[in-house]
């Protein structure tokens, strides 16, 4: 297989995996990373069961802990937006969660409500003083108490996500408490936007049945991973014992 972008990695799930596939003693699961940048990773997972691949997908969506704003104390809000609406917007702002492992879950922490061990405080204070022009309050304006946990920004010019717009005289002063959590509980803790997952791009296993009115080739354009496997030939025999073992992932 062509490695487009780097070598193969073993899955670090547990020790068994390092040596061999625990289920049938076959070759160990493999990941081939095809593309990788700050926003997207594309990889192929091979030599494993469908259930493991799907579990990986589900974990990536729901159970990777990240840090997000969980509590908002509103000191002053004279903007046109309601308090709870601003709080909701703040909650959905992605924070840099590289250090999530070093922060405790609040429920596992000894403190009564929250403490520096299990939370990060961010403050926001903005007031519009300009006449006739509205002030855009963005996620860059959030001041974090911990420099390691701050809103995700593309570069120095990126103002971040728009939180609210203020008119002259309007003021917004809030204190936010960011906590560690998983997306199972609330979507704001989700580390990824979507996980693309595909196996068997040519429907060799006949798990699905394409709806065709006239011509399959005309109505069904090839999928994104179709070039990774040889297309079906018309006289190819159907192997009903085959199981999927090559999974194409794209995580954003």
């Amino acid at each position: 297989m062509n490695n487009i972008n780097g070598g193969s990695f073993s899955l670090g799930l547990n020790n068994n995996f390092n040596n061999s596939d625990p289920f049938n003693g076959g070759p160990k699961p493999d990941i081939i990373i095809q593309e990788l940048d700050s926003e997207k990773i594309k990889f192929i997972l091979t030599n494993t069961e469908l259930s493991v691949a799907n579990a990986l997908r589900r974990l990536m969506i729901a159970e990777v802990p990240t840090i997000a704003i969980d509590m908002v104390e509103i000191e002053l809000n004279t903007s046109v937006l309601a308090d709870e609406f601003i709080a909701h917007r703040l909650g959905l702002i992605p924070l840099d969660s590289m250090e999530a492992e070093k922060i405790k879950y609040t429920r596992e922490c000894n403190c009564s409500q929250y403490c520096p061990n299990c939370s990060v405080e961010l403050t926001l204070h903005a007031k519009c003083v300009q006449d006739g022009q509205s002030l855009e309050v963005c996620s860059r304006d959030l001041q974090s108490s911990d420099p390691r946990v701050s809103p995700v920004l593309k570069d120095d010019n990126d103002k971040g996500i728009l939180i609210a717009k203020l008119r002259k005289g309007q003021e917004l002063k809030v204190k936010c408490v960011a906590k560690k959590g998983v997306a199972k509980e609330h979507a704001k803790w989700s580390p990824c936007a979507a996980v693309a997952f595909e196996y068997d791009p040519h429907n060799r296993l006949r798990h699905t049945h394409y709806w065709i009115e006239e011509d399959e080739k005309k109505e069904w354009p090839p999928g994104p991973n179709a070039n990774q496997e040889p297309p079906m030939t018309d006289d190819e025999p159907f192997d009903y014992n085959a199981t999927p073992n090559k999974f194409y992932f794209t995580v954003e």
Binding site: V80, A194, A196, F197, T208, Y210, W211, P221, G223
Partner: protein, 1123 residues
């Protein structure tokens, strides 16, 4: 090409114009209301002025009085809405009087405040543009058309009424019950005076060939032989009447026979000339009209002719000519030569406009006011015989007396009309109903709001009719009344909506030139009728209900065509609002004639005139006789003269907003019109300044990707009404059965369909003290007796802090009561958590006294929860059944997971193909980043919508049909079938479980029956009725039934005498109670006079109650009690 117009909208928003409206189409929605209101005050020939000129001078003995001009002077509106008061203007009336023949004296009196229509000429913001409107805290595109009564926006509803000045033939069996010899045949004409008041008169056909003229005066009906009126109108001989009626149809023996009978019928009265006839009329109606004794009979007869007979015409000759025409038409209907009109057909209807109704009301109230003045004065005169202090000749006397009288009642009565919609009127104003004239312009969402202004009601009289013929959709309604937009259920077909292109004519036009022109192009004077050759068919020419002349049928056709060409080109000053209805001669069709209408209140709509390409405004009457093609391919050369501008013109604004409605089954489009009006959306752009008692708002609204053209035309992007959702059509988890739908929990976390409710609470301190204004005893502040605990929750003025979170039982507001010297804290009662959004103190009009009212606006968050109702724009409503986790939701190969899953079974029987097309279009639009045009009737069989959007999908690398292979989120396995997934615009409806859930274990009971009370608000129970009981019995669960319904709820004990079997006769004998011990022997049966047979039994309390009730009716109930 559809577009989002994002940049234009932003510039409009940032720099509101001070010279023009951003969305001019919105202003047109309310045009019928505002223009008709403005017509009241038009500088030349305003309706109100005409009405006042028409007011009868009233006489007190010999003192005539008349009235003069009305002057208005309104205040600023936004205050009214926020302060919950009425937007009204001071109204002055100039009273003129003269005593005997002295010079007239006049005086100006204020007759109270009259509510003013917003954005009318008398309104302060009538000439404001968005910039000024925003400065005054109004909606940027405020369109007015309503009144503000106590802070509530009220609209006078448009009503369908019979077309004015048009003679309608009616066949109604109930007419036979009017009296002896009456038949089912009659003609009816609703005559309108220049001041828009009307008087309907009927002419009935009697079995003996005679005709009776019927009218109603002050809700009483009167009949007069028609000959009396004919002869009283003009001095004519019987011969002339015969000639006029028969014209040249001398061989029509049916007609000549009837006319002979008619002429003979008055011979018995021995009356000779016109004066005699007038006297007879006057004599009979002297009492009815409550006339003064000094009036002669002839004068009263004249009054009758002037005020009641065919009031749209001025001269008696004109009235005579029309009456002849009416009789002629009546005979034709009786003879079966022509068919009667259908009074339910929009061709024979017009609209009672709000301004016109308002003017009628003002006129009537002013008339009443004058009568009241008269009565006051006559009372004075009566008393003066004893009281010599009165001196009529004293110039100050009238002024003095006037000053002592009440004048403000006129304004009060009109405000009352708008507030309640009840019409209190002596004359009945020629209308069928007394209630239901006004409606509240609910701002539930903007769609509902705008459709209030376009709705036309048939009249509440018809709602109780058992027959359904009036509710039918008639072909004559095409283009004027929307066939789709009517509610289902009780008001179906009675409450309709104007089509989007339909206009209502609001002002009268001068027709004097038109009638002159008619004679130059072939219309003959009436005197020609006898000169034509025998049995030559002729047609009458009527202009606004006036017989102009006659002409030959083929000439009539050319006149009609000539007029139409001139009208379209604006030649010869032919008004655009002219309606040219040429009814050709036919065998059994409608009575032929050339009927021309220019009057206001008619429905008209633009169509394209094919010959010149110009736009022709056509009316509902003439449309029936025209050849209008819908599409280009429908044009038949030589026949078709007109073409629709657009096939969507027949739909109302709301019906037009359903995307691809031409692909749907028709009832689904009706449901969508209903549901669009129940959607949580954006009710207003000036939400901060609204004080409505309840407002729904969708926090995360989006503009639809798939939108009809009209969406942009009406600027509906300012009033978002839903969310674009990724919708997968599949059966998954079983939670999508029976119209339930699954929503992605993580989408919900991200704010999908998050809504809120604004609720208003008005605190009125003075109301609770005294009815009449006395000293203020209650004040908004916290006294010294209030602890710190409350001070942290309430501000020192006793009102809550803005942004405070309230749960049930929290202190809400407090006031200090002088009389008791304590601070009273009121608690928040709602069961839901609320946030204080705004607090306003409301003072009085002058700002002098202490504020006694406060308005607290609460914000109740309503995230979508299980049980809330959603719908797409295709009448596909569903209930949220489960917030399913994202990781369990199915996903496509690109990782897309649906926001909503609906069941495929929702489609086969409902046939909402439009929803599939919307899904395809939405998906393609989202992929390519374009807005999709969803105007109905844009696609056809050759150029199919599916193909158009399928190709767009293919080019984006997706399946042509919108299907995608999907994987189960739970197992990761690919589904066997590929799934139809796309983007559909979803609306969140206002029906939410939070408002509907009802649960009770024990709670309040009715104190007479001891049964649980009903009603959700009172913590009542849900009835377990007979059918529920039967089902338990059928299950063999009678023990359970007894346990639940008797032992655990309705259990009661009582004593019974086994001997007489009564449960009431055992009476406890108190004097026998000794040593605080009471055994059963101390209870005696008062009937058997013994204590031996008394035992305790257990019975349901309701049974005891039944026995008591029966006893009250004298029914004895005996029970057999055995151990």
């Amino acid at each position: 090409m559809a577009s989002f117009h994002t940049v234009q909208r932003e510039t409009l928003f940032k720099n509101p114009s001070s010279t023009s409206f951003g969305v001019p189409a919105l202003q047109k929605i309310t045009a019928p209301h505002i223009e008709s209101f403005n017509a009241l005050f038009a500088s030349k020939g305003g309706i109100l002025q005409t009405a006042i000129n028409d007011l009868q001078a009233t006489y007190v003995y010999d003192n005539p009085e008349g009235t003069g001009t009305v002057i208005f002077d309104p205040e600023f509106i936004i205050q009214c809405r926020e302060r919950l008061i009425t937007y009204q203007g001071r109204t002055e009336v100039r009273l003129n009087w003269k005593i005997n023949d002295e010079t007239p004296v006049s005086e100006t009196k204020v007759v109270g405040n009259i509510p003013i229509m917003v954005k009318s000429v008398r309104c302060n913001i009538s000439d404001f543009y968005p910039k000024d409107l925003i400065c005054h805290h109004e909606e940027a595109e405020e369109m007015g058309g309503y009144f503000i009564i106590n802070g509530i926006e009220k609209i006078i509803r448009l009503l369908l009424v019979p077309r004015r000045n048009y003679v309608m033939g009616i066949v109604r069996p109930s007419f036979q019950k009017r009296g002896k010899d009456y038949t089912q045949y009659a003609t009816s004409i609703r005559c309108a005076r220049p001041d828009q008041t009307t008087q309907t008169v009927n002419v009935h056909y009697l079995k003996d060939g005679n005709c009776m003229f019927k009218f109603s005066w002050r809700r009483q009906e009167y009949m007069i032989p028609v000959m009396l009126i004919l002869k009283a109108l003009v001095d004519v001989s019987d011969k002339t009447i015969f000639d006029h009626l028969v014209q040249n149809e001398t061989s029509n023996t049916f007609l000549t026979d009837r006319v002979e009978l008619l002429l003979r019928s008055t011979k018995t009265r021995n009356l000779i000339d016109r004066e005699d006839y007038l006297k007879v009329l006057g004599e009979k109606f002297r009492i009815v009209f409550n006339s003064l004794r000094s009036f002669s009979d002839a004068k009263i007869g004249d009054f009758l002719l002037d005020r009641i007979v065919l009031v749209h015409l001025k001269s008696n000759q004109e009235k005579y000519d029309l009456l002849i025409f009416i009789i002629r038409k009546l005979y034709a209907i009786v003879a079966g030569e022509c068919s009667p009109e259908n009074p339910d057909s929009p061709a024979n209807q017009e609209i009672l406009l709000s301004g016109h109704l308002y003017g009628m009301l003002i006129k009537e109230k002013l008339q009443e006011y004058l009568y009241n003045l008269r009565d006051e004065f006559s009372k004075h005169f009566r008393h003066s015989k004893k009281n010599s202090a009165m001196d009529i000749t004293d110039p100050n006397y009238v002024t003095r007396t006037l000053n002592r009288m009440k004048h403000e009642t006129v304004g009060q009565k009109i405000t009352h009309f708008l507030a309640t919609g009840n019409l209190v009127s002596i004359s009945g104003m020629d209308l069928l109903q007394a209630t239901g004239y006004t409606i509240v312009a609910e701002k539930l969402n903007f769609y509902r709001y705008i459709s209030h202004f376009r709705c036309v009601h048939r009249g509440s009289f018809f709602t109780e009719m058992k027959t359904t013929t009036i509710r039918k959709l008639l072909p004559e309604a095409w283009g004027f009344i929307c066939p789709v937009h009517t509610p289902d259920g009780a008001p179906c077909g009675l409450l309709n909506h104007l089509s989007s292109s339909c206009q209502v004519i609001t002002s009268p036009t001068n027709t004097s030139k038109l009638s002159r022109i008619l004679f130059t192009i072939g219309v003959l004077d009436l005197s020609h009728s006898g000169k034509l050759s025998k049995n030559q068919k002729i047609v009458h020419v009527l202009l606004d209900g006036r017989v102009v002349g006659i002409c030959l049928p083929d000439v009539a056709l050319s006149i009609a065509n000539q007029l139409r060409v001139w009208k379209i080109h604006g030649n010869n000053d032919i008004p655009k609002q002219l309606e040219i209805g040429y009814v050709p001669l036919s065998n059994g069709g409608l009575f032929s004639g050339l009927y021309l209408f220019t009057s206001p209140a008619r429905m008209m709509r633009p169509v394209k005139y094919l010959a010149t390409g110009g736009t022709d405004l056509i009316g509902s009457f003439e449309q029936v006789y025209m050849n209008i093609a819908c599409l280009d391919e429908d044009i038949i050369p030589g026949v078709t003269t007109h073409r629709e501008i657009s096939p969507t013109n027949v739909l109302s604004i709301l019906a037009n907003l359903t995307p691809f409605s031409d692909h749907n089954q028709s009832p689904r489009n009706m449901y969508q019109c209903q549901m669009a009006k129940q959607t949580m959306g954006t009710p207003s752009t000036a939400l901060t300044y609204r004080t409505d008692s309840k407002l729904y708002r969708l926090q995360t609204g989006q503009t639809p990707i798939v939108r009809p053209e009209i969406h942009n035309k009406y600027g509906l992007d300012s009033f978002l009404n839903g969310t674009n959702a990724i919708v997968a059509v599949l059966s998954y988890t079983g939670y999508d059965m029976e119209d339930a739908m699954i929503i992605n929990r993580q989408s919900h976390h991200r704010g999908f369909a998050y809504g809120l409710i604004y609720k208003s609470e008005v605190v009125n301190l003075s109301e609770k003290t005294f009815k009449f204004k006395s000293n203020i005893t209650r004040h908004f502040f916290l006294g010294d007796d209030v602890g710190d605990e409350i001070r942290t929750i309430l501000d020192s003025d006793g009102l809550p802090f803005i942004g405070a979170r309230l749960t049930e039982g929290d202190p809400f507001y407090a006031f200090y009561d002088d009389t008791k010297g304590v601070t009273r804290v009121k608690k928040y009662k709602g069961p839901e958590i609320a946030y204080v959004d705004q607090v306003r103190l409301l003072g009085d009009d002058y700002g002098e006294s202490e504020a006694q009212k406060a308005h607290i606006k609460l914000r109740i968050p309503r995230p979508s929860i299980i049980g809330d109702k959603f719908s797409s724009r295709h009448g596909q409503k569903g209930v949220l059944s489960q917030l399913w986790p994202q990781y369990d939701m199915p996903f496509t190969e690109s990782g897309m997971q649906p926001d909503i899953i609906i069941n495929p079974h929702a489609f086969p029987s409902r046939m909402t193909i439009g929803m599939f097309v919307e899904s395809l279009a939405g998906k393609a639009g989202a992929l390519h980043g374009i807005a999709q045009d969803a105007t109905p009737f844009r696609f056809n069989e050759e150029n199919a919508a599916m193909d158009y959007f399928g190709k767009q999908l293919l080019s984006a690398g997706y399946n042509y049909h919108g299907n995608e292979p999907m994987y189960s989120g739970i197992t990761g396995e690919e589904f066997h079938a590929d799934i139809y997934i796309g983007v559909v615009f979803y609306q969140r409806l206002r029906h939410m479980v939070s408002d509907k859930w009802q649960v009770r274990s024990t709670g309040p009971v009715h104190n007479l029956t001891l049964q649980p009370i009903g009603g959700r608000i009172r913590q009542g129970g849900v009835r377990f009725g007979e059918m529920e009981r039967d089902s338990l019995l059928a299950h063999g669960m009678s023990f359970c039934l007894q346990d639940r319904l008797m032992n655990c709820s309705d259990y009661s004990q009582c004593l019974i005498c086994q001997k007489c079997g009564s449960i009431f006769s055992p009476i406890s004998l108190h004097h026998q109670i000794q040593n605080r011990k009471r055994t059963k022997h101390h209870v005696r049966c008062c009937l058997c006079d013994s204590s031996d047979y008394i035992v305790h039994i257990k019975i349901p309390f309701s049974f005891k109650y039944l026995a008591t009730e029966l006893m009250c009716m004298g029914v004895k109930m005996m029970l057999e009690a055995k151990p």
